[in-house]
């Protein structure tokens, strides 16, 4: 078990380092001259003083060879320092940490809704013996993954804020303001959870152990929840881990639609202003949250299914 944990943590660190490298290559190396891009973004005419450019270039270290830049940046990033934002001059890390709680609240609420709605849909759809209800329920997830998130958000605002006046359309205030954005963000996520869980539930209900449970006289509901669902939840848990990245990224769109403050709004503003240090911070931060969640999911597996640790020790390449 300890080997399993150590291996997982080492892999997570490796992935983070690589994610940083990719973001460095894309953001600092690809634009050719990031300083002109950064300095030009704030101005209308694109007229930038060459001396100012040189000063900026020196400040950000772009006058040094790429490898030196990379190692210097990486060294600072390890200590949690992503430099200062171009637009406001505040440290990137503190901007991100200020924005994080609102987004975590939003994504957490969305994840909860997605698991409840998606999971509930899958359980009811596989449990019911009414053909029409099953058909109706199972036709919802493909719909959920096909609609643009921002469109769903705007329709919800239209219906529940402007027509019915139930929830506020914009802003961060309280639980009432959280309902619509969380619901919007939960639609595609919940749909994917429902698809995976329904599929694995159907498989589990076909297995010999559910047959055995039934033969022993367990009730239908009990077989469904205690025997089938527990075994079927493993693939769904994997998907939940993967969807967390999608949720964090989805906050960019949802927070823009609902004018909520948070990581997503910061990201959208940073891209618009071509604020390269800030965008880089967001990318690495996003990868950090994603990797951390999947680490937790990986560490949860053995609790659900003890066979996994044994199997992973035997597997040759598991990176």
């Amino acid at each position: 078990m300890r080997r399993y944990v150590v291996k997982r943590v080492a892999q997570a660190v490796g992935v983070l380092w690589a994610a940083y490298t990719v973001s460095f290559l894309v953001l600092d190396y690809l634009p050719g001259d990031p300083v002109t891009a950064m300095a030009g973004a704030g101005m209308d005419s694109g007229q930038v003083d060459p001396a100012q450019l040189a000063a900026l270039r020196h400040e950000y270290g772009f006058d040094k060879p790429v490898l030196v830049q990379y190692t210097e940046y990486l060294g600072r990033a390890v200590r949690g320092d992503f430099g200062d934002t171009v637009s406001t001059g505040r440290p990137v890390t503190s901007v991100l940490i200020d924005a994080l709680p609102q987004t975590l609240l939003l994504t957490g609420a969305a994840l909860l809704l997605a698991v409840l709605l998606g999971g509930g849909l899958a359980v009811v759809a596989t449990y019911t013996s009414q053909r029409w209800l099953r058909q109706l329920l199972l036709s919802q997830p493909p719909l959920g993954v096909s609609v643009p998130t921002f469109w769903v958000g705007l329709l919800l605002v239209e219906a529940f804020s402007f027509r019915l006046h139930w929830f506020p359309a914009f802003g961060n205030d309280g639980l009432r303001g959280l309902v619509l954005p969380a619901l919007t963000l939960a639609v595609p996520t919940g749909a994917q959870i429902a698809q995976v869980l329904a599929k694995s539930l159907l498989t589990a209900l076909d297995q010999a152990y559910t047959e055995t449970a039934r033969a022993k006289g367990a009730g239908r509901w009990r077989v469904h929840l205690r025997h089938a669902l527990r075994n079927a939840s493993l693939p769904a848990l994997t998907v939940v881990g993967l969807l967390v990245g999608q949720l964090i990224a989805g906050s960019v769109v949802v927070e823009t639609v609902f004018s909520r403050d948070g990581l997503g709004r910061v990201t959208a503003a940073a891209v618009t202003a071509q604020d390269i240090p800030l965008v880089q911070g967001v990318v690495v931060f996003g990868a950090l949250i994603f990797v951390a969640t999947n680490l937790v999911v990986d560490l949860l597996y053995p609790l659900l299914d003890p066979r996994i640790v044994v199997a992973s020790d035997r597997r040759a390449s598991f990176a």
């Binding site: 997982r8 892999q11 997570a12 992935v15 983070l16 690589a18 994610a19 490298t21 990719v22 973001s23 894309v26 953001l27 690809l30 634009p31 493909p142 719909l143 993954v145 096909s146 609609v147 643009p148 998130t149 921002f150 469109w151 705007l154 329709l155 239209e158 402007f162 359309a169 995976v196 994997t238 881990g241 993967l242 990245g245 999608q246 964090i248 990224a249 960019v252 769109v253 823009t256 639609v257 990201t267 940073a270 891209v271 618009t272 071509q274 390269i276 965008v279 880089q280 967001v282 990318v283 996003g286 990868a287 994603f290 990797v291 999947n294 680490l295 999911v297 990986d298 598991f318 990176a319």
Partner: protein, 307 residues
């Protein structure tokens, strides 16, 4: 971690690629094939409808004149904010422009961006996967670790980083979206190549002295293509969504151009008094994505299971 990152569509797609099945059918089988296609479609009205929607969208993107004669860019200011009616199917916007005509003309930009995105992902991802699977050993290891890293950055963040670096515009957004989905293609392509590479007929052709490129081109690629093509149709839908999300955020074509995502973000300012400006263009996106996803599902197994 990569264990848990296995691509579901790809895995599901394996069902399609029973190797060597199509070309081996004898000549008289052709009519039966046509009948089979017909029966397959008629039993699935939803699929037929999806194909219809997709045909309409493609027609609209090449010949918008077929659907509307009104100018998407010029409006009649006195006729602004008219609700949907017989003369303006999707109503008019704040400048009195016909929204239906803007959606029809926008199909061109949005579809073009989507095609570029899918093509970038297909070519780059396919290349990575084929090289990794065919060469094997350390090349495989290096390329696949790189793919794992791409997967660890949420797709939208990767696209946004690329947009920051490359700048705005329909084509740049398309490339950014395409690169963000390279990883999925690389995984599926590699898995397929690995599966086919070990098949008996590949071994036979090798032992007959065939060069590596002829083995690759004649035997491995044709038999590995199926699931990758299914993934491309699936990716088409998600690329439409990603491209429209980026243009909704304002990184797509500059303002007067009627890209689908831009239409919705424009309409957002008039949400309280003109619902049709957001609802109806969004319906066009949703219908197109739904249609391509339905077709992808049909290609992915449903067709080969039905006998």
């Amino acid at each position: 971690m990569s264990q848990s990152l296995v691509d579901d569509p790809g895995k599901a797609a394996l069902g399609l690629a029973r190797p060597v099945e199509a070309g081996s059918a004898p000549e008289p089988g052709r009519r039966a094939d046509a009948r089979r296609v017909l029966r397959f479609l008629l039993r699935r009205p939803g699929l037929l409808l999806s194909a219809g929607v997709l045909v309409l969208v493609v027609l609209a993107s090449f010949w918008p004149g077929l659907f509307t004669s009104q100018d998407p860019l010029k409006g009649v200011p006195s006729q602004n904010f008219r609700g949907p009616s017989g003369s303006h199917w999707f109503g008019t916007d704040e400048l009195g422009r016909d929204v239906f005509s803007r959606v029809v003309h926008g199909a061109h930009l949005s579809l073009q961006a989507t095609l570029i995105a899918v093509l970038v992902a297909f070519v780059l991802g396919g290349l990575l996967g084929v090289v990794a699977g065919f060469v094997g050993r350390w090349v495989d290891d290096v390329l696949m670790r790189f793919v794992d890293v791409l997967l660890s950055i949420p797709a939208l963040f990767l696209s946004l980083a690329l947009v920051t670096a490359l700048g705005y515009g329909t084509v740049k957004v398309a490339v950014a979206v395409g690169i963000a989905s390279v990883a999925g293609f690389a995984r599926v392509a590699r898995a397929e190549v690995l599966r086919v590479r070990l098949a008996v007929f590949v071994e036979a052709s090798r032992s007959c002295g065939a060069r590596w490129y002829s083995v690759l081109g004649r035997h491995v690629l044709p038999n590995a293509a199926g699931p990758v093509i299914v993934l491309a149709t699936l990716d088409f839908g998600s690329s439409i969504l990603a491209v429209s999300a980026l243009s909704f955020l304002g990184y797509g074509a500059p303002p007067p151009a009627p890209e689908w995502g831009t239409l919705i973000s424009d309409g957002r300012n008039y949400l309280a008094n003109a619902w049709w400006l957001t609802a109806l263009p969004g319906l066009a996106i949703a219908a197109t994505v739904l249609a391509t996803n339905r077709i992808a599902r049909a290609l992915d197994g449903e067709w080969s299971r039905q006998r």
